[in-house]
């Protein structure tokens, strides 16, 4: 029950973040959605994810506020109202049609298929010695995933430093 309430809170927060005109209020509303997601992770029995989502949300909020503050922005109107809305609604409708067929195939909520996870839970402590099963999965059983993640993070940092830098730009 409390999970549904938290999800409803997140949906309302997202609607406010999309609909409000002021950019700073919009950023703060999306921060509220992220904190709701952190609570939802806690209810879904994922404490690692709750801690990570909480601190990442704070940092994301600081970066987004940094991007929007101190810029006196003019109000941007959404032009071509009719055509844009119809195209968007058509796209969402086609997406929902695929989502309907996908939802028919899913297992019911609360009854996952744990074919691989069963052996991880049964042998995790004996094979790695770590009490936290999530840590033993991301760093031992599926270490390649984490290596790829480290590569993506490295690429993102290099990208930001290359976009932001001042020296070395060619001026015509």
């Amino acid at each position: 029950m409390e999970l549904k309430l938290i999800l409803l809170f997140m949906v309302f927060g997202a609607v406010i973040a999309v609909k409000i005109e002021d950019l700073l209020s919009s950023v703060i509303a999306v921060g509220a959605v992220g904190l709701g997601l952190s609570m939802a992770f806690l209810v879904l029995k994922a404490p690692d994810l709750a801690i990570t989502q909480l601190v990442v949300e704070i940092l994301c909020l600081i970066i987004l506020i940094r991007a929007t503050i101190n810029k006196d922005l003019p109000l941007i109107k959404d032009g071509r109202w009719f055509f844009n809305t119809v195209a968007t609604l058509l796209f969402i409708a086609s997406f929902l049609m695929f989502a309907y067929f996908a939802l028919l195939e899913l297992p019911d909520f609360g009854k996952p298929i744990m074919r691989v996870a069963g052996s991880y839970i049964a042998n995790g402590l004996a094979k790695t010695g770590a009490a936290n099963i999530v840590a033993s999965i991301i760093l031992d059983f599926r270490g390649y995933d984490t290596l790829g993640e480290a590569t993506v993070l490295f690429t993102a940092v290099i990208g930001v430093l290359a976009i932001i830098r001042k020296v070395g730009r060619i001026k015509k």
Binding site: L59, I63, N132, A135, Y144, T146, L147, V157, I164
Partner: protein, 149 residues
């Protein structure tokens, strides 16, 4: 008066001086206990980066960059990536990539246990923390360089 122009007011500075060490200590605790309790390298790295960002927001950018300059942050990030790759390659001595190569993994549910997992946590913490701090410092420095023009 000139000194207080940089950063925020006196109240914020005093509170920051009291709390920033505790935040850093909490991040280190989260990283080191990642294999026996919730947490781990990702969350701990972000908390450590947040402690330096806290310093930067409260005291101005020069003060924080004196503690950890941008070049040092890039160096630490590369060090974390190389350490993670080195741990993964060291498994090749016993057979395959990412082998948990310690024979004696220690007693479970204690701090020194689980073989390579705490070492990997420390490597990831260095990588995530230093990388995010480098990103944030670059964004801040860019904004202030625009005002000078």
């Amino acid at each position: 008066m000139k000194k207080s122009d940089k950063g925020m007011t006196l109240i914020v500075k005093t509170i920051t001086r009291l709390t920033v060490g505790l935040i850093l200590l909490y991040g280190i605790y989260i990283v080191l206990h990642g294999h026996i309790s919730p947490g781990g390298g990702f969350a701990g790295g972000v908390i450590i980066a947040l402690s330096f960002i806290h310093l930067m927001l409260a005291f101005g950018k020069e003060f924080a960059l004196k503690k950890l300059s941008q070049a040092a942050a890039s160096l630490l990030e590369n060090l974390g990536a190389l350490m993670f790759l080195g741990i993964a390659l060291a498994g090749l001595t016993g057979g395959y990539f990412f082998l948990n190569f310690f024979i004696n993994k220690g007693k479970p549910f204690t701090l020194f246990s689980a073989g390579i997992i705490p070492l990997c946590n420390i490597a990831i913490c260095l990588k995530v923390g230093a990388g995010l701090f480098a990103i944030f410092a670059a964004l801040i420095l860019f904004d202030s360089s625009q005002e000078n023009k």
